[in-house]
Symmetry: D2
Subunit: 479 residues, 4 copies
């Protein structure tokens, strides 16, 4: 996402919000394929954002963007794709909120300035976004959206560098926080990653074309080949047949968001050489080693706990069962729940299978607990199915600290683990016991020697300097 | 569905077509809940049909129906539900085709005749539908749709019985083939099942209300209690505070569609006392016993092979892995595949995970093979991921014979197992070996002593009399 | 329209409801033009109905219809027209109601029966529609709509004639009341008019094609040439290169709806050799002769009174002025009027021009008064503009009797002139005086020697036999 | 409109483009009425723009805008109006183009800057818009639209004045050209008019509320009282119960756009004490005096020539007739005209009435001729109806010079009167003779002593300084 000045307080899933997905291609020879490639790439990245989608291409004489609210498949059709012609394209999918989704916040953001046309697609969150914006406004800049992305565009426009690419690179040095950025001008594709490498960004190739994307799964769908990750602090400029790499920052400790492994990334994506599904399975195995509890069944919360539950079962030899059905058709939530059906949203999505669960002691696996409200509702429904004991096992450590790098956990007071003990949480959600994977255990899986992770949400150690503990108001607006 | 004179020949999934889902409620005290209950019930039955959805209620002075193309959540919103008031309601979801979906075929079908208003929701296929229609047309009936359901309405309208309920019951005796029917008049709810009981139909209760539905999962979402299945050859008439059961037919051997267990029904549904997910898991276990092949991994085709693959893995001790990712966002198929991407539809939906599969011998589990085209595409993609050997294991017997009771397999020539040997099929789809669960093995799981099944698609033994081997033209229209 | 079992009681315009428009073409050589011709023809007939529009063509192997709610330009676009291919086409536009518009009542009505495919487009109202429907239902017919048109289709389907055209002609003999009908089969276009000729229907030609339509203005738009009116009691069958005329009825006195001249028909249409605009102008001239009142200005109610006001002014030498502006953009009426703005609908549509009206004695011209409510609101607004005296002059006689032939004046109790004297009406609407054109004066304009008119709404003399004074309930449903 | 960098070259009507309409209200006591008043006001101004519509209100804590493409009644519904709450509101309707309508150009334009929230609604065209924009871009401003309005917002944002109102007033001094502006902040409504007063802007009152609008017809619909015109060079600031007037400019000669009288304004609007309909009628009277030609009929081009034709007829005693019908239902133009029907757009809209015109010598009245293409098509159609002589009479002088103040006549080469003599134009359009009202005659009607007009399009005398003869490219983009 760009930044998140405003968020909906209550979600259907008590999960961390999904982020944004970005995609870019410099399609040297086959112009007719361009928008089709962007479409497929965004389709593969759809799990990173369902609120809005957009594609920008370089037409003959100007950049042209099409974007809209909803899924990639709702925003685009054949006719629209056919009209998006060019040899450079970037795309963006934005996280989903159930409430006030705003068209003005859809990306790519296309701006026209003295530097020329520039389109930006952004994933991450600037910790100095507000400060930069205040400064720009003080010098007369006007803002139309609440996006960090627009802040970046203004910095580029005000740069004293004549060239838009130089201005763009210069602007990166003013940004603090998390950002993976894909930009395009009339004749170049640019990709940059913040100096800590919080958010993923990978480089690939298909025939003569270069491609950049949030995750490798966007390469698979178009049969592109993975080359390497874009380095933290690196900016790539791709133009006519050549690719140029520049460092715009001193080296920092790598701080890749560990939640990409735990929850965000698609299971078939590969990060740092490790497949995400296998990593999650290993988290379940490790959790089984750490817990060593007796039970009849290992049952995942679908779909977030499935991989870890498989690992847990294989390590513990406790049988695995899909004891909760997930309805793959998403129903609308306009029905007002009555007192007796307060859990309607969960009920429309998940259904415990009595024949499997009745009188069983189960280990209920999920990837994480943020606020605890959904866990509480699921366990409540499980109780109705006649299950005996419910041991909740979470394949990651307790989330105790807010994230300032793009996850929707900015408010400490909503993080159940920041104020309650394990026993209190277990009691709140109605579990017989509650277990978390240790941070040490988690890191042991992820080859932490080679690759540094941001674990601030678990241990409060923020990679960036300064006071991050900014206040947010009840609407989640960072003050 | 009603009947299926016309069907799309090529599907994204080379699966049997899903059928229709039906739901009815006599909601004695709480009128305000009626349309909400119908909506939730249809939402739970959405897997049985995604083409169209509809709800009919008894307003103060007439039956009122709202229906439309698409998912339940697309067809209804709060405003529409608020306008559907009454104490009796029936609903319908219809199977999905990618092509010529026709609004005129959406149900419930509301007809006005001398017998009064009658609304019908139908799941099944009449084998004498064409014959009945010809006879009715010869006597001057006009048809607006291609639905069997409309045939039934005409027979009711032409009955010499004065009372619509008597006329409805009388009409049932003329129908041959598969049907589960829910009907409503201004003051009664009626549910009937064909004498063989091909299609499911269950009775439930919530507080003072009676509910009928295709599957028990529709009861779970509204917290209704399962009472019993409606018997083959039984008709239930529910009106003011009472429920009346009548038999309209001699007893026939029960011939429940075995494919409901294998593929159609939702995993959390209970049929004949058996949970569908557990039954599928047992099919995988049985398959493992019958096959006894060495491999490194058991990998399901998602989602259809997941339960059987879990059973196979547990019985064989070969590790299970979700080696193929399923993208849960359905992309549109308007993109014309190029020569190099003929498998685009499969590619947009499924992605093999190289890190898991590379150099492995796998047992690839699916529930069934109909035409073989999708299996071929999946295996082709798996080969690209560097897998070693692929042993395809199908958790049901070969489908060799067309179904005349509602499944979309009416054309024998398209059934790959009707004309090829196992070895030929394996060669066609690119597998190293191909294995099916034996019919005996399948029936051993399903307590066949207590409950008879229609297994005609496997063994060609059709429960109903007469020549079913009707010709169909290239559009699937039964001549 | 077909018939009108149900109508909205309150209208924005206190006018008689507009009727339906019908169009048909047998387009012998230029298939690609067919749907385009239908579209243009319906566009020219749009004033006869704005609720729904539809076109039916003969595709290669079956009749295909596209219809929808709204204006012709909303229902059709280029893509849809391109898909409607054939060499025979019929179209229909239906009257507009502000309330419960039902898709099921849109036409052409396409039915499939033992006689083959038949599509019908109907303008008029059967006085024995209910009786025919009861009889059909008693013999087992099912109805989906509330259209007379569906009644006709059933009679055709039940005919003992083998041939659909013979059956259609036979069916005409059972119909009583007003109907102009255009029908098509796979290879013929049929047009018929009731024996009294209540509703208009004209025949034209363009190159090798024959065309039938409600009004000549549909010929002008496609440059077709007017040939003649279709005779009362005549049926035309047009097929491969030939046109055949048959009489299916004894000769009756011609009873053309005089309100077509007064209000319904488009001003550029020619009926019985007379241009409608000129006829209306003459009504105003005649009215001036009959009235002979002094005033400062002649002011029309726009647009219905414009032609008559011009005639009045020219005959009386009282200056004409467009003293009331009509906003040509129709605003939605969802705004709830407050006490002070009860006349919001009139206010959004009409605005008196103070500079013109202040202190003037005016003659306010309109074509007719039905209920008087709109006249009252207009006069009320005029009073606010400071006008002095308002003499209301109506260019037709008082409407005292309900119409059973297709106009929405079925309820005698709503006709203000059926229960009030001129003085009482003047007082109710707030006029200083009220004047009507005499029936004798009206007929003197219309060459009544050559051509008979139905004047039942004025004089109560109904051309058809029997008791027409059927009761209607409060919803306008004819019992 | 804001400015018009880009316009569609070909129009259905060969008329000058309509402009924009603006509306503002400070609704002191009755908050619930606010959005309803804006809706009605914009509905009355709909003739000034049909491309897009928008309303902005001051919510509790921020300005909120809703805007969309299409008519006011398409963009707003009850639900949307109910959500627009506040006590200050402004609205905008934008001119209609048939082609590339851009949502990003819809107004009001809402911007957030260091000065606070500011919403702007603009009618007019800046002649230094490009220069101001270049300068702003050179200083790092980013533009999202092609609107002059955005230029104004940037100037406000960059002002050194702390207060947004002071900054706004200061910004006005940098603007050159035509503008009537309505702006709002969280607690004030501001209205300003350029020093020459090119575009109209009037002040009214309803109970305790002040209202500003483009035309007085917006007052009539809500029963507001006209107070006075806003003076050229005046800015009004309306806030809590008070209204403050300031002059921000030296006095300039008043240069009101004379085309507002001739074509743009609604006939019921009053400008400078004169009703527009009456003024147009007088133009026809004057034209008759100047021409003195014999003919059988005076026929207007509907609707633009109606008032003048009435005046012409009354002065000349040549009978008036509505000899050309205007279809009030606008059909879509997606149908590709064939060679034989090149005039399809005109044909769908206008139909000459043969019975009226045949063998007659007519005086065909219109308000103006811009390119001549539509006149040519109308006359061509008239010829087909058998008319004898056609004398074209235009109720204004020849348009010879482009307008730089907001009308779409920026390209001199397209103005037929800039390069052809009267005889050449008559020959081109196919008229027997062509006559224009003299400028002297026109001004004699409009009390030119009291009120100055811009007549640059007729006489080339531009009120503002500098070289206006800027080049525009083929897309109408001002270079």
């Amino acid at each position: 996402m760009g930044n998140c000045y405003r968020r909906e307080p209550i979600k259907v899933d008590d999960q961390m919000e999904e982020e944004c997905g970005i995609f870019g291609i410099y399609n040297q020879d086959r112009k007719e394929d361009l928008s089709r490639m962007c479409y497929l790439g965004l389709h593969a990245l759809q799990h990173r954002g369902q609120e809005s989608a957009g594609i920008c291409v370089n037409q003959v004489d100007e950049l042209k963007v099409h974007k809209g609210m909803g899924l990639v498949s709702n925003v685009f059709d054949k006719k629209i794709l056919d009209q998006l012609k060019g040899n450079i394209g970037i795309g963006h999918v934005r996280y989903s909120t159930t409430g006030s989704s705003l068209m003005v916040n859809a990306q790519p953001l296309l701006t026209r300035s003295i530097k020329g046309d520039l389109a930006l697609a952004h994933n991450g969150n600037l910790i100095n976004g507000k400060e930069l914006k205040d400064n720009l406004e003080a010098h007369g800049s006007i803002f139309h959206s609440t996006l960090d992305t627009e802040v970046i565009a203004h910095i580029v426009a005000r740069s004293f560098k004549d060239n838009v690419i130089d201005a763009f690179i210069e602007s990166l040095q003013q940004l603090r926080g998390a950002f993976s950025l894909i930009a395009m001008t009339q004749d170049s594709l640019i990709a940059a990653r913040d100096p800590y490498g919080f958010r993923p960004l990978v480089l690939g190739r298909k025939d003569d074309s270069f491609i950049v994307a949030s995750e490798t799964c966007a390469f698979d769908i178009i049969d592109a080949e993975f080359i390497r990750e874009i380095e933290p602090g690196e900016v790539l400029i791709i133009d006519d047949n050549k690719i140029m790499s520049r460092r715009y920052s001193d080296e920092k400790p790598h701080a890749f968001c560990i939640f990409e492994f735990i929850y965000f990334a698609r299971p078939d994506t590969v990060i740092a050489g490790e497949n995400v599904y296998l990593a999650r399975k290993k988290m379940g195995e490790k959790l089984a080693q750490e817990m060593n509890i007796e039970a009849d069944l290992v049952v995942p919360v679908p779909s977030s706990g499935v991989a870890a539950a498989q690992g847990y079962s294989q390590n513990s030899s406790i049988p695995y069962a899909d004891g909760i059905l997930r309805n793959r058709y998403v129903g609308r939530t306009f029905i007002q729940p009555t007192q007796e059906m307060r859990d309607l949203k969960v009920r429309m999505k998940l259904n415990p299978i009595k024949n499997i669960l009745k009188n069983k002691d189960i280990i209920l696996i999920d990837d994480s607990i943020v606020r605890g409200t959904t866990s509480k509702q699921i366990i409540n429904r499980l109780r109705e199915s006649g299950v005996n004991k419910i041991h909740v096992a979470i394949a990651s450590p307790p989330v105790k600290n807010p994230c300032y790098y793009g996850l929707d956990t900015s408010r400490r007071k909503e993080l159940i683990a920041s104020k309650k003990t394990n026993e209190e949480i277990a009691s709140y959600i109605g579990a017989d016991s509650l277990h978390y994977l240790s941070l040490k255990g988690l890191l042991s899986i992820l080859n932490a020697d080679n690759n540094g992770y941001c674990t601030a949400c678990f241990d409060g150690i923020y990679p960036t300097d300064g006071n991050h503990e900014r206040e947010v108001d009840d609407n989640g607006i960072i003050l």
